[in-house]
Amino acid sequence: MIFEKRTERILVPMFFMVALFLPLFLESNSFFVGKVTTIIILSIFVMSLDFLVGRVGLITLGHALFYGLGGYLFVILAPEYEAVNFWIYTFYICGISALIALITGAVVLRTTGIYFIMITLAISQMMFYYFFDSLEFGGDDGVFIFMKPETSIFGLSFLNLDDPQHFYYLTLFSLFNTLVFFKVVLRSRFGRIVEATKQNPDRTEALGYNIFIFRLACYVIGSTLGAYAGFLFALQYGFVNPSFLAWEMSGTALVMSILGGLGTIYGAILGTFTYEGLQYLFEHLTEEWLLFMGSAIILMVIVLRKGIAGYLEKLLEK
């Protein structure tokens, strides 16, 4: 069983069961299907960040670079008025993102601690300004994706990305796979060595493992999945804007993953849904929602020592 904790074994199936049947109770064009889709996409992004920050110990404040890149790479690669194949372009986008992660990772991983935070921030800010100032990609106004990709495999097409329900299930399927993927990776031999590099880097090094290589591999994995989430987000409304890779985006994702319970992987879903849910609630209650949002965050940091997942585990693991 890849889910070690009782809490996961209860919560994860519960979440996916509810999520699986949710659209059946909502109208297919309903706003809520779209809203939940966005949160699911964000959950994938936050999960990839949680893996890096919570499990590998790489505190990045530049993860949004890949979120934005997922959308911009599609805009750069795909012809404007022709529907391309979704699977092929997913492959392209993930491949190129992995390559970019490999190159930038080799640079940023030379630093540690606070300097790692700052150098990841610097690289993402650089790319933010690159797209912000670039006339060919719409500059600060952003750019539209006019043609959504088609999804046929060997001529068989069973998904229509223009249909909000189909798109919903694609993102849910992606979230499930991401979760299982991380769980499997972390339980593997590779995962255990990664765990060791975080707990005790010196000893791991002494055992003959090259820490740098392991960290770099993790950085590439996390970044690539972050880019995939960004690609999905760009496809949802067909809109890409430089703000997708602004540092605020990285900061918000970090808040969501800490809120959910750092390093728990499934906590990313809890954190993202809680954050978005609270924001939705406060926005509907009051014009000064920022005050409530900020206070809620402060309160949760103080009260919940290990995030929401940590709190639930305390209740359920006996």
Binding site: F31, G34, F132, G138, D140, Y237, G238, N241, S243, T286
Partner: protein
């Protein structure tokens, strides 16, 4: 932030004043979605636009044929990433008949992506992005503000008339800044003027001092700029602090001195700008509007309130002509595009791309106010390049 506030009193006043037979629409409210920034850098612009909009509908309540108006407010925070989601909430969740917004051009793009070609009529009360009434124009997209081209284009001619041959251009390197400088260049160079230097500095940097030193070194006949909000305040103050005011005339798109004069103080005296409005504009409607706004909200309105007010007028006039029935969207659009809006800025109509055809006034800052010197361009129509309507 969809705090729904139904203007019940308006509907009630209307139904009392008119006989019961006027309308069948009373039961089915007309939903107006407001998508403006109420937090963050542009919050003040959002609030002004909303207040103007609501004032217009309140004033016109008697002419709405008993239509119930329901407002749905959402805070865009000026964040483009959330724009499509909020717009689709307006469309899918609230089924808004009209959506008013936004302020920020990036948000406008995100909204247009969702609303373009839909039944809901979108009225942009500020964002100047050329694309909105250019390549992306659509029958259901209207604008009651300006295109970035409009306030700047006439200023090229103004500069020539003043005898300035060599002009230095500076703005931020973003859509509005680039489009404003290009519009100035277009008319200025066509008249034989010479651009000494064109600087697009990084947005949103306000480190103007090095550039002002450069202007002093180049010593042009005049300087033309586009800056707005906090940047406009700082540029004008820096320009004065470095001793260039009174030596090298400063010209700009009107936002340079709009809603910023108090903060700029004496530093703004003598600045020349072009805009489709001026607070002391001598139009009867303007005086009435300013007093009504002050009575309602306790302070005088700015340009953003005017633009929101005109969006409200466009809706009210349309409702009036259609007897409060907005079920036929084609009728709504064809009614709205034929309107003449009796605006505080003077009457205006809509161009084929649904951008206002309006006067641009040349204003000079005197004793802390934008005083209208002349009409820089009469009934100016945006060229709407790329629009296929």
């Amino acid at each position: 932030m969809s705090r729904m506030k139904t203007l019940l009193c308006a509907a009630m006043a209307a139904s009392l004043a008119t006989t019961a037979a006027t309308s069948s629409a009373a039961s089915d409210p007309v939903k107006i979605g407001i998508m403006l920034p109420f937090s963050g850098i542009y919050a003040q612009l959002g609030e002004a636009g909303r207040d103007g909009l609501k004032l217009a509908l309140k004033e016109q309540a008697a002419d709405l044929h008993g239509a119930n108006i329901e407002f749905i407010e959402m805070d865009t925070e000026a964040k483009p990433a959330r724009a499509p989601e909020l717009a689709s909430a307006m469309l899918g969740q609230h089924e808004a008949d009209f959506v008013i917004g936004p302020v920020h051009s990036g948000v406008a793009m995100g909204m247009i992506k969702v609303l373009r070609g839909k039944d809901t009529v979108m009225i942009i009360p500020n964002a100047g992005a050329a694309a909105a009434t250019g390549p992306l124009c659509s029958p259901n997209i209207f604008r009651t503000s300006f295109s970035s081209w409009q306030p700047s284009y006439p200023m090229g001619k103004v500069a020539l008339d003043k005898g300035y041959k060599d002009v230095y251009l500076i703005s931020w390197n973003y859509g509005m800044g680039r489009e404003s400088l290009e519009a100035f260049e277009e008319s200025f160079e066509a008249g034989g003027g010479n651009i000494v230097k064109k600087v697009l500095m990084p947005f949103p940097s306000t480190n103007f001092q090095p550039h002002i030193s450069d202007i002093a070194a180049q010593d042009p006949d005049a300087v033309f700029v586009f800056f707005a909000g906090g940047g406009a305040i700082k540029f004008v103050k820096d320009y004065d602090a470095m001793g260039l005011r009174g030596k090298i005339p400063l010209l700009g798109s009107g936002f340079l001195t709009e809603g910023t004069l108090e903060a700029q103080g004496d530093a703004a005296e003598g600045v020349l700008t072009g805009l489709h409005y001026a607070e002391q504009l001598d139009v009867p409607k303007n005086q009435a509007f300013r007093e009504a706004f002050n009575t309602e909200y306790g302070h005088y309105p700015d340009i953003y309130a005017v633009q929101g007010y005109d969006a409200g007028l466009a809706i009210a006039d349309t409702l009036n002509q259609l007897s409060g029935d907005v079920s036929d969207k084609q009728a709504v659009i064809s009614t709205m595009e034929a309107l003449t809006i009796n605006s505080p800025r003077g009457d205006f109509t809509f161009s084929r791309a649904h951008n206002p055809v309006q006067n641009i006034y040349l204003r000079e800052v005197k004793d802390g106010a934008n005083v209208v010197a002349s009409i820089a361009a009469e009934a100016l129509e945006d060229p709407a390049r790329g629009c296929k309507l």
